[in-house]
């Protein structure tokens, strides 16, 4: 784990800024702040749901997701990448 990011709390963007509609094989997320529609698949909806408004650190997120999913090193690396993408798009905020 990257210690320099250990204290960072990740939060889903404020719920009033997002509209999330689950279609069959992906989820459509409308981001009000940018007006952009994001089409996302697992694990993004799961990450957003887990983070929620309260938010959590990366370690807590991995622990939460590992309750429902089997996560190996490869999955954790992939989750890291998705998390950074979500921060870049504004769907996830850091504090």
């Amino acid at each position: 784990m990257n210690d320099s990011r250990g204290d960072i709390v990740y939060r889903m963007a404020r719920p009033e800024t997002l509209k999330i509609v689950h279609l069959d094989s992906f989820t459509a997320v409308f981001h009000r702040a940018s007006g952009i529609t994001h089409l996302v698949t697992s694990p993004v909806p799961e990450i957003l749901a887990a983070l929620g408004e309260a938010g959590m650190t990366r370690a807590d997120l991995m622990a939460r997701l590992s309750v429902d999913y089997v996560l190996g090193d490869a999955e954790e690396g992939s989750l890291d990448a998705r998390l950074e993408e979500l921060v870049a798009t504004g769907l996830v905020a850091v504090a």
Binding site: K19, L23, D24, F26, F30, R32, T37, L39
Partner: protein, 286 residues
């Protein structure tokens, strides 16, 4: 503009001005049975003007202008002035429409419910809409489906049906000659001939309908029908919309509701008779 024509097509009013009389005369003939814009105020203005002052008389070349323009659009010969007017009207809708979510699709209605036919250019939307309108369906439009985000209803936009190439003869064989415009040869889209929608389509142009089925027709394959997943429908309809991004959240809400509430199927067809049969079967099975 020296010559002016105004028309209302469904909820949209247009004002077309032209340096020449000929395109306006053709519009007056073909749109004779249409109403005028409500309160005389058009939503969009189209201008047909000479590429250069002398080109109004010497090898006249028609430029398309209006509230919204494509800066690199090439001029058309005056013989295609009617096409220029239609292209200008479509352009204003595609770029300027903000009330309705616009889907590039043909729409027909039966029993108060709407069938949406969408797909790439050449998929046969206009041809199928024209043929279905000759078989008991009400033509709501062959170019744009107007989805009202507030109600989820589709509004009719029964402009002249733009028949292209092989479909000109196919449809012309079934309609009286006075419902057809001039044959426009050598246009950027090949041969084009316009079909005037029937009286039933014009009489009911202000009656919206709730969408009941979305079909994605493809011409040139053996007959086949398959269900299309919501996610694929969503992506294809965002691509088929000219103003999805501009509509913002209202567009997102309207499109996700449409995709979640209306079944969708893809139909492949080798000829128009097969297509009609596939459409009827899909409608019955929806």
């Amino acid at each position: 503009m020296r010559h002016v024509f105004q028309v209302r097509i469904g909820p949209i009013g247009f004002r077309i001005g032209s340096d020449w009389r000929a395109p306006i005369a053709q519009l007056e003939t073909l749109y004779a049975a249409y109403p005028k814009p409500e309160d005389g105020v058009p939503d969009f203005t189209v201008r047909l003007f000479a590429a250069r002052p002398w080109r109004r008389v010497v090898r006249p070349a028609v430029m398309i202008g209006g509230d919204y323009i494509l800066p690199e659009a090439a001029p058309l010969p005056l013989a295609q002035g009617l096409l220029a007017a239609e292209m200008g009207m479509n352009l204003q809708m595609a770029l300027g429409q903000r009330h309705f979510l616009l889907l590039h699709a043909a729409v027909v209605e039966r029993d108060g419910k709407a069938l949406v036919l969408t797909g790439v250019s050449g998929a046969g939307k206009s041809t199928l809409a024209a043929l279905l309108s000759l078989r008991g369906w009400r033509l709501m439009g062959d170019e744009f489906a107007l989805l009202d985000p507030a109600t989820g209803l589709l509004h009719a936009f029964p402009r002249l049906v733009s028949l292209k190439n092989a479909s000109v003869a196919t449809v012309a064989a079934e309609v009286p000659a006075d419902r057809l415009g001039p044959m426009l040869e050598g246009t950027p889209k090949g041969t084009i001939r316009h079909l005037v929608p029937d009286a039933a389509a014009l009489a009911a142009m202000d009656a919206p309908a709730r969408p009941a089925l979305i079909l994605f027709p493809s011409f040139g394959y053996d007959s086949a029908t398959r269900d299309v997943a919501q996610s694929e429908v969503f992506v294809r309809l965002t691509q088929a919309s000219t103003n999805y991004v501009a509509m913002g959240e209202r567009g997102f809400d309207a499109l996700t509701a449409l995709v979640q509430g209306v079944p969708a199927r893809a139909i492949d067809y080798p000829d128009t008779d097969s297509a009609i049969a596939l459409v009827e079967a899909a409608w019955a099975a929806r």
